[in-house]
């Protein structure tokens, strides 16, 4: 599994704005990637803090890599490089950004990143709960598109499990300082009491809605602004707010104390002139903007106006940075849980790689025995009644299972205990127990190489880091 992306840790907001994908564009890109034949499975998560694409290369790509590895040929790197380049193209990212703003992880590092993201350890506000919901929705969307296979499915399920454990076994979410609570605290530093004040929500982004609801709970009157009357009124009714159209922006700004924006618009919806005109009507009364949209909804120079306080996602991040220390212990415990889940996942993945081999062995043995029994049934045993024939077939099935039971158990144990030797063992199994022309095993016997713990540690210590060019077999954990 691979992940390519950028987040608040690696890229400034300007770059994240350009890389952000709305649902429709994300769906189109996923379809395009999978139809290329280079990628078998893919899932994209695009929030205000990150845009990441998780993918699994296709069997053709894997086989090209496998053949190249067996023949010590560089073609494997080319095949993977081509897949990575294709993903970068689809995401409109430049190969030159890889290593600077764009990270690229493979294998264990990619899975670990997914687990950390789900557990909110990679979040702007460590422990915030929104990311898990966003990740689940991204997974569901990809699944609905039919671009999630068994590998991504297993990784995602395990990531959700790790996140659930982190939340229930640590206090990482307790006394939570989230972007929403930071916005509320800042508003209180300006207005003290929020009861009876007007808070305006522009856009229906999840984060914006969460912030607006928090203000509403503090007693503020909520006003929703939107482009289409029907949608705005429906949403306003749902959240108990007053609905207005965007044409009333200036009047609404003149009345508001706090404006929360979280639209998916690609251009700012609140311009400098709008706010300047509103501020004239307000006679210097303070106005607080919380812009959690990416791309940003409020023109940057609005913040230069006297009496206007403008905070975007990155500004809020610097505010919450100081609150992270108190959750350091919980985060350490959460990292341990993620590591334990990752180890368990890897064990199961190794066992998963043995399963097709065992299945092939079973099929082969069963087929051989059935062929022999069939031959006898057509010859000397042709008078055998139907009931006995069925009993004989059942006996063959049971005998096959018993014969292979020990081998299968030992192979699975081997996968868990000595994963590094699994490749050689499977090769011996193929040599000893299967005919030379059993082509069905050729693709499944290959086990992805695993990095050594030291290499893994080195990779993580420098995380996020990625090579300069995708064609250089850009594997985070190999460094």
């Amino acid at each position: 599994m691979w992940v390519i992306g950028l987040s608040h840790r690696t890229a400034p907001i300007e770059l994240r704005e350009r890389a952000a994908l709305d649902d429709d564009t994300a769906a189109a890109r996923l379809r395009e990637l999978v139809s290329s034949g280079l990628i078998a499975e893919a899932m994209v998560i695009s929030t205000c803090n990150r845009m990441e694409l998780y993918f699994v290369t296709s069997e053709e790509t894997k086989q090209a890599v496998s053949s190249a590895r067996n023949s010590d040929h560089a073609g494997g790197s080319d095949a993977e490089g081509k897949a990575v380049e294709h993903v970068l193209d689809a995401l409109k990212l430049s190969a030159a950004d890889v290593g600077k703003h764009v990270f690229l992880y493979q294998g264990r590092a990619a899975v670990k990143h997914l687990f950390r993201v789900a557990a909110s350890l990679d979040s702007l506000v460590v422990g915030e709960p929104q990311i898990l919901g966003q990740l689940k929705r991204s997974y569901e969307r990809a699944r609905a598109l039919g671009v999630v296979g068994s590998r991504l499915n297993r990784a995602a399920m395990r990531a959700f499990r790790a996140a659930k454990r982190v939340r229930s076994e640590t206090t990482i979410g307790a006394g939570q300082v989230s972007v929403a609570t930071v916005a509320l605290d800042l508003a209180r530093q300006i207005f003290d009491q929020l009861a009876g004040r007007t808070v305006v929500l522009i856009g229906a982004g999840e984060m914006g809605e969460a912030i607006a609801q928090l203000f509403q709970q503090a007693g503020a009157n909520l006003v929703l602004l939107g482009r289409t009357e029907q949608r705005v009124m429906a949403l306003a009714k749902r959240v108990g707010a007053e609905g207005r159209l965007m044409s009333e922006l200036e009047r609404t700004l003149a009345e508001a104390c706090v404006v929360v924006t979280s639209t998916s618009a690609t251009l700012p919806v609140v311009g400098f002139e709008h706010v300047r005109a509103a501020m004239r009507r307000r006679r210097g009364r303070e106005l607080f903007f919380v812009d959690v949209a990416v791309p940003r909804d409020v023109e940057e120079r609005v913040g230069t106006l006297d009496g206007v306080y403008l905070y975007n996602v990155d500004d809020l991040s610097s505010v919450v940075a100081g609150t992270q220390a108190s959750r350091k212990d919980s985060a350490t415990k959460a990292e341990e849980i993620v590591e334990a889940e990752l180890l368990d996942f890897e064990r199961r993945e190794d066992v998963e790689q043995v399963t097709p081999v065992v299945r092939t062995l079973y099929t082969w043995y069963s087929r051989v025995l059935h062929t022999e029994v069939e031959r006898s049934l057509q010859g000397r045993l042709r008078e055998l009644p139907e009931v006995d024939r069925q009993a004989l077939n059942r006996l063959v099935e049971a005998a096959t299972k018993k014969l292979l039971h020990q081998a299968a158990t030992k192979l699975k144990r081997w996968a868990v205990e000595r994963p590094d030797e699994l490749n050689s063992v499977l090769e011996i199994v193929r040599e000893l127990m299967l005919p030379p022309d059993s082509g069905t095993l050729s693709g499944t016997l290959e086990v992805a190489p695993r990095s050594s713990p030291s290499a893994e540690k080195a990779g993580l210590a420098n995380e996020p880091r990625a090579p300069q060019s995708p064609s250089q077999t850009p594997v985070e954990e190999n460094r």
């Binding site: 300082v177 530093q189 009364r285 009496g307 306080y309």
Partner: protein, 289 residues
């Protein structure tokens, strides 16, 4: 008889010495209490802004002690020197300081407003120390004593209230700059919200404007009787400007709804003019405007 007179004289001299020593002790204790309060307010502000209100209770207690000693000093000095506090220049400064600190302590019963102590305590200390070093000038106006008492009391009351208003405005500007520059921290803001600070400034400026109006009007009555030297004319002009600025800010807020930094600067300007007037009044040899 001569012996008796000498003995009485000695006893009086001894009593005066004792009184002077006592007065000095009260003065020093008041300065120590003000200094301790100022220092603890400042240190808590710098090191524990998050728990400011719970940690400055002892600072408030010390400030209250300072106020009691300050009052004792005024009473004692006026008794020893047999001077009416409101007709003496150096008492003017001392009373202005006392009014501002008492007004703050009354208002800061709400814990969050205690943070303003970091501004008010040093201002009180500064004015109190200034009053103790300024040479005493008995004011000798050509008006009845009660009239002068009303005039000076009104002016000192307004100066004290303006000082608290300015403290609120300074805190407003600091807090506003911090949020504007995106240096805000969660749960660590020692000052109350901007709107509370603005409302506090507005209230104190409004409260001070009434007495100042009385002071200006009463001053205008006997201003004609004064010999108009350069400094006196400046003092009279400054007092009018101060009143005009304060009135403009208060009316601007009440009638046209002005808010924000400009109002804060206006309040500070009015307070600086008011304190400057008292300083001028204390330093200059002459009668009040």
């Amino acid at each position: 008889m001569r012996v008796i007179v000498a003995a009485v004289g000695d006893a009086q001299a001894l009593r005066q010495e004792e009184s002077a020593a006592m007065q000095l002790a009260v003065l020093i204790l008041a300065i120590v209490a003000y200094s301790f309060s100022t220092l603890t307010f400042y240190l808590t502000f710098v090191h524990s802004p998050a728990n400011f209100s719970s940690r400055v209770r002892h600072s408030r207690a010390t400030l209250i002690a300072a106020v009691v000693l300050h009052l004792a000093d005024i009473v004692y000095r006026s008794v020893v020197t047999r001077t009416c506090p409101v007709t003496s220049a150096e008492f003017g400064l001392s009373l202005a300081a006392l009014v501002s600190v008492v007004a703050f302590l009354v208002w800061a019963r709400q814990d969050k407003l205690l943070a303003l102590g970091v501004i008010v305590a040093p201002l009180g200390l500064g004015l109190f120390v200034a009053s103790s070093v300024v040479e005493s000038h008995e004011i000798t106006p050509h008006v009845p004593a009660w009239f002068l008492a009303v005039h000076v009391t009104a002016n000192l009351l307004s100066v004290g209230l303006f000082v608290v208003a300015a403290a609120g405005s300074i805190a407003y500007l600091l807090q506003s700059s911090r949020i504007k520059a995106k240096r805000a921290t969660v749960g660590q803001a020692p000052f109350p919200g901007l709107s509370s600070l603005e409302s506090l400034s507005h209230r104190f400026l409004g409260l001070g404007l009434g007495p100042m109006t009385i002071g200006v009007v009463s001053g205008a009555v006997f201003a004609e009787r004064l010999t108009h030297g350069g400094m006196e004319s400046l003092r009279i002009a400054l007092s009018y400007v101060c009143w005009l600025v304060a009135a403009a800010v208060v009316l601007g807020q009440r009638i046209t709804g002005w808010h924000g930094r400009r109002v804060a600067w206006g309040t500070i300007f009015a307070a600086v003019l008011a304190v400057g007037l008292v300083l001028l009044y204390a330093i200059m040899n002459g009668s009040p405007s």
